[in-house]
């Protein structure tokens, strides 16, 4: 099987590499480049743990061949922090306890980042809908929604709502 040159922008830097055609982006990142922040969950498009941004949109790296990102911009969770400081979304997950075992967290952080770049003022439904490709088995999601609301407020330069901001009677 032929190996091919590939080049794309990875976490802000030009990346050139070589990979066989059947290489998944997920394996290329984790095993080839040791960027293990992106997680392997189900390996079949069902959990979202492997989410990365491709040209700013959340996509599943376990269902993406590395050749499919040729010439595109890829961002992994490793690129989210700014000068060694947590991004607003990461801070939200930390402060609001949006992460327990952590297996799903990078995927949720990346998907939430994708949402907030496009929509700085998401409603609760927008948040739920945008995180619909991601599964969490620990938190019950409510802490994750709080984390994203916290991040959205921070990114707008507002003070995040004090605890507890969730009206549980309204959460389906």
């Amino acid at each position: 099987m032929a190996k091919r040159l590939i080049s794309f922008t990875l976490n802000g830097k030009q990346h050139d590499g070589v990979a066989p055609d059947n290489t998944l982006l997920l394996d290329y990142l984790r095993e080839g480049l040791k960027l293990t922040g992106t997680k392997t969950g189900c390996d079949g498009g069902e959990c979202g743990a492997c989410t990365v941004l491709v040209d700013g949109r959340p996509q599943l790296s376990c269902l993406t061949l590395v050749g499919q990102v040729e010439g595109k911009t890829v961002e992994t969770v490793e690129a989210m922090s700014v000068n060694g400081r947590l991004s607003p979304v990461q801070e939200g997950f930390h402060v609001k306890l949006g992460s327990q075992c952590g297996a799903c967290t990078p995927g949720f952080i990346v998907a939430a980042e994708g949402l907030l770049r496009e929509n700085p003022t998401p409603t609760d439904d927008d948040i739920k809908w945008a995180l619909g490709s991601n599964i969490c088995r620990c938190t019950g999601y409510i802490k994750i929604y709080e984390a994203v609301r916290y991040a959205a407020a921070k990114m707008r330069g507002e003070e995040p709502a004090p605890y507890p901001p969730t009206d549980y009677s309204k959460v389906a």
Partner: protein, 337 residues
């Protein structure tokens, strides 16, 4: 890094290049977003030696939508179809169907061509190689000899068509444009899907479910507008996101005074093909009342299958599909045009 078997990928930039590549590699498969195909390859369901990527076909990335017609290129991403202003305005059932497929990250990847051509599904088929082996495989792959859903099926497979776009396009006289070695042709969508599973073998089934010839690809799908037609899409799934439909329903209604002037109903997730319900003409000129609902019940009972190809009992699927269609028609009947 050998999660997938060996294959080469060809990335053409024109339809002519695709046709040439298909000719050079008769065992090749088209790949759009890969959100269905790569899962199947990984599960050892298929092992194509060559994949032909549709992502570089810029000519197939356009959407044209006005009240008279809709044309969508096969390489259009589901997210772009779901959010397109003209599609939302004139063909809401199509936009809603697109917006309900899998989850948001999947819709950023999945294409219209891949969704139309989506492989049929069955609990005995969409499993890992090891799972299938311990169950002696089944007819739908080359490794098996019998159907576990219907052991007396005489070689016929009942795997279910689950694409969400097809029923929505069927409401609007949908058609599929194909390109192949003999040039382009257009087929009515209702003739394109041939998964009738007749035991005399006169039509296709869950294995041969599309009237596509070797070397052909889907290039566009089309719909025709009808003024005054309200439409909508709904589906039931085991989880509300990231899940194939247990059943999906597209419906369209035009009302004239107190009576139905036009009603169209189509389903996915019930048969080895999307089903445009036949016989709804009987409702025209009548109010949407109990009698009309009984007509829909009877038509569904007659035309929707109840094979157990998923986790839910087959009869549940059919009942839930029927119920959904009546709710949708009722809602559209009350909705101002």
């Amino acid at each position: 890094m050998d999660a997938l078997p060996d294959f080469d990928v060809i990335r053409p930039t024109s339809i002519a290049e695709v046709v040439a590549a298909r000719k050079a590699h008769p065992d090749s498969r088209m790949i759009g977003g890969g959100t269905d195909l790569l899962v199947n390859i990984r599960r050892g369901i298929e092992k194509p030696p060559v994949l032909i990527d549709t992502a570089g076909l810029d000519e197939l990335k356009t959407i044209e939508a006005d009240e008279t017609g809709l044309t969508v290129g096969a390489s259009v991403r589901l997210v772009d179809l779901a959010t397109h202003e003209g599609v939302r305005r004139h063909y809401p059932a199509i936009a809603e169907a697109a917006g309900s497929i899998a989850g948001p990250s999947h819709r950023n990847m999945g294409t219209v061509g891949g969704n139309i051509a989506l492989d049929t599904r069955c609990i005995f088929y969409n499993q890992s190689e090891w799972w299938r082996e311990t169950n002696n495989h089944c007819l739908k792959t080359e490794l098996g000899e019998m159907c576990h859903v219907a052991p007396k099926s005489k070689g016929v497979c009942f795997a279910t068509y689950s694409g969400d776009l097809a029923p929505a396009f069927l409401l609007f006289g949908g058609s599929v444009d194909l390109a192949g070695p003999e040039g382009e042709r257009s087929v009515a969508m209702n003739d394109f899907f041939i998964g009738y599973s007749k035991q005399d073998g006169s039509t296709g089934d869950g294995i041969v479910y599309m009237a596509i010839k070797p070397g052909e690809m889907i290039v566009r799908v089309r719909a025709t507008g009808t003024p005054g037609l309200n439409s909508a899409y709904d589906k039931v799934r085991i989880r509300r996101t990231i899940e194939y439909p247990v059943a999906g329903c597209a419906a369209a209604v035009r009302r004239d005074g107190d009576a139905i002037a036009d009603v169209r109903i189509a389903f996915t997730g019930t048969n080895p093909r999307p089903v445009l319900l036949e016989g709804t003409d009987a409702l025209v000129g009548k109010p949407w009342d109990e009698n009309a609902q009984q007509v829909v019940d009877d038509l569904c009972k007659d035309q929707l299958m109840s094979m157990k190809t998923t986790f839910t009992p087959g009869h549940y699927r059919r009942r839930v599909a029927t119920q959904m269609s009546k709710r949708l028609v009722g809602r559209l009947f009350e909705q101002p045009a």
